[in-house]
Amino acid sequence: MQRYKLRTLVILITLGIAAASFSSVAFLSDGLVKEGALSLKYAPDLTVQGISSGRQSLIPTRYVSSVALVPGVRWVSQRIWGYGNIGDTLVVVVGIDLDNSITTNQAKVLLGNSVVDQAPAFPLESGQFLDVQSRNSIVIGKGVAELLGADVGTVLSVLTESNVIRQYNVIGIFNSESSIYSADMILMNLESAREFFSVPEDKVTDLMVYLDSEDDSTTVSLSNVIARQISETPNCRILTKDVLLRAQEKTYSERSGFFSIVWYVILIAVAIVAFNQTVVVGHESKFEVGLLKALGFSTSDIIQVRVYESLMLGGLAGAVGILSGVVFDSILGAPILRDYMLGWANLYPGFPTPVFISLQTVLFTFAVTVLPLLFATIIPSWLNATVDPDIAMRGARA
C-alpha cells in the first residue's frame, strides 16, 4: 500500500466519498423511518376522519358511540386539531379530550376509577401540563416558544381562523428531547381548540380508536377487520397504523432513493478506477512479483498479499466513510440532506435529527467498499502472479 501511494490515495478517497454519501443518507433515512415507527407505536390503532365531496372534513360526534360499539374496540377518543401559522411558520394546534384520553384511561385501568393521584410524566421543560379545568391554557413546543419569545406565564393574543382574537395563557413548554414531534405544537383542551377553529359543537376533526388487541401481530389483522366495519359508516374514511407506516416508509425510501442513484454512480466509477489502477500498477509491479516468486513465494501467496491489501484498503475506506457519515448526520445535523428528506426550508433547525446507525447498514457499507475492490484487484493480481518469474523480471526491465 505504501509503495504505490498515489494509487492507494485515489482509491481511498473515491471509495471513502462513496461510503460517506451512502452511509449519511442511509443513517438519516433509517432514523426518520425509525422515528416514524416510534410515533406510530403510540398513535391510535385507527383514525376515523370525515369525508365530504371526496375531501377530508369534520366528523360528527354522534359517530363516537356507534364506533365504540363495534366488537374489538376498546375505547374512542375525540380530537380537534389543525394548522395555524405564525408568519411563514406552520404550527400544529391540537385539542385533546383530557377526560377521555388514552393516558387518563390507562391510568384509571391501573389505579381504578378513583382520582388519579400520580400524573403521567409529560416531557416538560418548565411549567405544567394541561388539566381538566384548563380553559384558554396552552402548552407549547420549544420551537414555538423560541419563535415567539414566550415563557411560562406569557399571555398570547392569537388571531383565529375566523378573525377573532383569543387570549391563551402559556402554562407549560415542552422540552428539547421531545422537539422532534412537539417543537411546532400548541396543545390545549378540546373546547379551547373548538373555539380556536370555530368547530361546531357536534363535530370534531377525527376520532382516535384503540383496539382490544395486545399483540402486534394480531393488531394489523384485527384493525383491518374493524376498519372495514367502520367504513360502513357514511362520510368517513379510516386510516390504520399499517397504512401510515407504509406511507412513511415509502416517502423516505423514495427521497433517499434519489441520493442512492448518485451513490451507485460513484461506486461504479470507483470500481472502474480501482480496476484501471490495479492493471497499471500490476504492470509496474511485474518485476516485484517475479522477484518474490524467485525467492520462493507461490502464486497463491502473492494473490493472498494482494487480497489482504484490498481488504485493508476497503476496510479503511469503509470505516472512514461510515465515520464521516456519522459526523455529518449526528454532529453537523445533515445540512441540505435533512432539508430534502423533511421538506425544503423547514424553519425548525432546533430539533435533533433522528439518526439510526444500524448494524445492517454498517455491514452493507463495508461490503460495498471491500467487494468491488477485491474484484478489481484479484483478477489483475492473478494474471500477474501466474507469469513465469524469469519472464516477469526480464519483461519488467525491458
Binding site: 416510534l38 398513535a43 375531501r55 403521567p120 357514511p234 374514511r237 397504512v243 430534502y340 423547514n346 439510526f356
Partner: protein
Amino acid sequence: MKSRTLVLMIVFLIALAFVASGLSEISWSIRENSPEVLRQTVGLPSTTVGNLNPSARNPGVEFLCTSLFDVPGGFCNYFTLGVPFTNFTVVGNFTVISINGEK
C-alpha cells in the same frame, strides 16, 4: 513498525464504526421501550415540519400533486377517499354503482 501502526489504525477505525452502530442500536432500543406519554396522549404520528407551503414540504414526486393544490385537475389521492396502501376492503368506495341501469 510503520506497517503495524497502519494496521492498528485501520482496525481501530473499523472497531469505532461498529461501536457507533452498537451504541445507536442500544439507544434506539431504550427509546422504544420507554413510554412516551405525550405522544400517546396526542396520538399524532408525525415529526415536526415547519413550512407553510405544501409543495415545499413535499419535494420530488409529490411536487406536482401538492403544488396544484385541491382544484379541479389538481386531483391528488392524498386528499380523497382513495388513501394509498389501504389493505382492507372499503365498503361503499364507489361513486358509480351502475352503468346503463346494469349493476
